[in-house]
């Protein structure tokens, strides 16, 4: 391993970055998996619920739930990019700077 890499491993900031970023990435991944497979399981087991009209109209619960799943994918990526490109990248920059 190069000298730079060795300095990075020994830098507590690196451990901090990994811990924070991994926890964040996995939390968001699990959130996406739960939302999506929740939707899929509703399709498989809860057809009746998805097909229930909201109030007196013809629009069923399935429509907002489906649209929510699509929008949640976009929002979750936004949340990740915001923190990763801000807080995490700043920490990463410091780590690389200190390894020189």
């Amino acid at each position: 391993m190069s000298q730079n890499a060795q300095r990075i491993v020994n830098n507590p900031k690196f451990q901090e970055l990994i811990a924070k970023r991994s926890a964040f990435a996995w939390t968001l991944s699990i959130a996406m998996l739960v939302i999506y497979f929740g939707f899929v399981l509703l399709v498989a087991f809860g057809k009746g619920f998805l097909g229930t009209p909201i109030g007196s109209g013809v629009t069923t619960w399935g429509i907002p739930i489906g649209v929510f799943t699509i929008v949640s994918a976009f929002i979750l990526t936004g949340i990740y990019v915001r923190r990763a490109n801000g807080e995490f990248d700043e920490l990463n920059r410091q780590i690389l700077e200190e390894s020189k």
Binding site: V40, T59, T60, T77
Partner: protein, 569 residues
């Protein structure tokens, strides 16, 4: 309604919609050649001239291997987001999903959701590590600390299998669609697509391919936005009013507002979900796009923008599908049904499958109804451009697997010069182009709808497990990766052939040997388990070295230390 008369002779070729149809382009059943559609041809020619101009510009800037494979690494996150969306929003999503919504309503949404949710996973787990570790292809990452020859060969096989099946579906789809929309011969259409894609890729490399994708994405998004706007405007922007009108005319009535017969048992539902989600993260032409940006920051932004564009596009497609129900199944102002082969009997509801040209034409007819024949021409040209852009991306990914992975790393063992590598890449592009023209002709009368599904299952079962484990699991070894990947690839192909989509629907056997349309539920875990098992039982000296090399790889993947930057110009 001149444009209608042009397609009035087409046969309704819808047939039963199998679940895999959501993967398909306009490729189900036979179509008849139409009268020449000049508006569409002129608009398509404008697109071709513009993209060839870009190719000329790109060719002068494409000198090094980095320019050729990765557009010099100088694409911005926003541009790459649009290009990824362009790669991903194929004619399948546009025509196929709109057609599915037209025929079954809510079911179309189930697929849209499945096609989208892979993107956040790519961002959270794959994108930045991939960008930090790789150079041109995903095999760079998968083989990072392993023996180059076996892993690159395995990854190239996975890439080429994915690309080939995807390409066949696109070529056959292109031929049929263009026959229907432009009134050109099938063979002319297939040759045109093949020749143009060779031109874009050999001369302009990744830079030209990227801009072709961006232009096409902007055209598709604007066209679809206009259609959705015009449809909603008729209902004062009240979705409830639109749904109500659709429920009133659709033969299935209120059933179009709830999940139908498309997804029946939980295993099929989860299996399809897994293949879509993890397959997206294993598509070589998509993964390649992450090397066109300067760093991990831009790579993350690309996924954010791509997810936004693709999600927005799927919501539009859903509205367009409902618009199609209203434009096609409701009589026009004169009481006629211009888009149906036969008007319904008095008092009866219109028959969904009597749509001219089959259900995949739903979006195209809707374009005609809301925007007249000029807009119809525009949307036809967009559909053609869409296929062209997707095949260009696929061809580049296939050519890179051959030149960068097989030729440079396996055959020449890293001793090939950059110029040699680019030359091999260009030759491969020409070969892939010619081969796909032949395959397009060979499969003209076959039902190839399952092939995009096959491409996704292979990507999810062979490419994705190797890629993910190589980045996340320090104990993986060459042996584990190669055996796991190979098992994933072989089991995916075998089970799909033995399943209902091929064994029953294509080969005509009465009963399928394997009961599920989508084998992802079994093949994806199989590949992961095999990688794990054959790695932990590997006690060879090389395996020990590979495990020791993980820490350095890990540091680079996390921090970008030593990662490829953008080239100088």
């Amino acid at each position: 309604m001149r444009a209608i008369n042009r397609i009035a002779a087409a046969t309704a070729a819808a047939g039963a919609l199998l679940p895999v149809t959501a993967f398909a382009d306009a490729i189900g059943g036979a179509v008849q050649k139409q009268a020449t559609n000049w508006e569409a041809i002129i608009m398509f020619l404008i697109f071709v001239v513009a993209t060839l101009g870009i190719t000329y510009w790109a060719a002068r800037r494409t000198k090094s291997a980095k320019d050729f494979y990765a557009a010099g690494g100088g694409i911005t996150g926003f541009q790459n987001g649009l290009a990824i969306a362009g790669d991903y929003m194929s004619a399948a999503s546009f025509l196929g999903i709109a057609g599915l919504v037209y025929a079954s309503g809510f079911d179309g949404l189930i697929y849209s959701v499945g096609w989208l949710v892979g993107w956040p996973i790519i961002l959270f787990l794959v994108a930045e590590r991939l960008r930090n570790l790789g150079k041109y292809t995903f095999a760079d990452v998968a083989s990072y600390r392993f023996q180059q020859m076996p892993i690159r060969t395995m990854a190239a096989c996975g890439s080429l299998a994915t690309v080939t099946f995807y390409l066949i579906a696109q070529m056959v789809g292109a031929g049929k669609l263009i026959q229907l929309l432009f009134g050109l011969d099938y063979i002319v259409a297939v040759i045109l697509v093949g020749v143009l894609m060779i031109g874009y890729v050999t001369f302009g490399g990744m830079l030209a391919t990227t801009w072709v994708q961006i232009i096409k994405a902007v055209m598709l998004l604007s066209g679809a936005s206009f259609m959705a706007f015009m449809i909603l405007a008729q209902f004062n922007f009240s979705p409830e009013a639109m749904f109500k009108a659709a429920v009133d005319v659709h033969p299935k009535g209120l059933a179009i507002m709830s999940p139908g017969a498309l997804v029946t048992d939980p295993i099929s539902a989860i299996s399809l979900g897994m293949a879509l989600m993890f397959g997206t993260a294993g598509l070589p032409h998509i993964l390649m796009r992450f090397f066109t940006v300067s760093d991990a920051k831009e790579a993350r932004k690309s996924v954010f923008y791509a997810t936004g564009f693709i999600g927005y596009f799927y919501i539009l497609t859903f509205i367009i599908g409902f618009g199609a129900i209203l434009m096609i199944l409701r009589p026009d102002a004169t009481g006629a049904y211009p888009f149906l082969t036969a008007a319904p009997a008095a008092g009866a509801k219109a028959v969904v499958t009597s749509i001219i040209g089959g259900t995949n034409m739903a979006a195209i007819h809707t374009a005609n109804a809301v925007g007249g024949s000029l807009f119809y021409g525009f949307i036809s040209a967009v559909a053609f451009a869409t296929i062209l852009a997707v095949v260009a991306g696929l061809t580049l990914a296939g050519a890179s697997a051959v030149s960068h992975d097989l030729y440079a790393s396996v055959f020449a063992k890293g001793r090939a010069t950059e110029a040699d590598e680019i030359r091999v890449s260009k030759i491969t592009t020409v070969v892939i182009g010619i081969v796909s023209i032949f395959l397009g002709v060979a499969f003209e009368n076959q039902n190839v709808a399952f092939m995009v599904g096959l491409a996704f299952v292979i990507a999810a079962s062979a490419n994705f497990p190797i890629l993910l484990m190589s980045m996340f699991w320090g104990k993986m070894t060459t042996r584990g990766a190669v055996i796991g990947g190979a098992l994933g690839l072989v089991s995916a192909v075998t089970l799909l052939i033995l399943g209902p989509t091929v064994w029953k629907a294509v080969l005509g056997h009465p009963e399928a040997i394997f009961p599920y349309d989508n084998p992802g539920f079994f093949t994806i875990p199989l590949s992961f388990i095999a990688i794990w098992f054959f790695s932990i039982t590997d006690n060879s000296e090389t395996a020990k070295n590979e495990r020791r090399a993980f820490e350095a790889q890990y540091i680079r993947s996390q921090t970008g230390l030593g990662a490829e930057g953008a080239s100088a110009h």
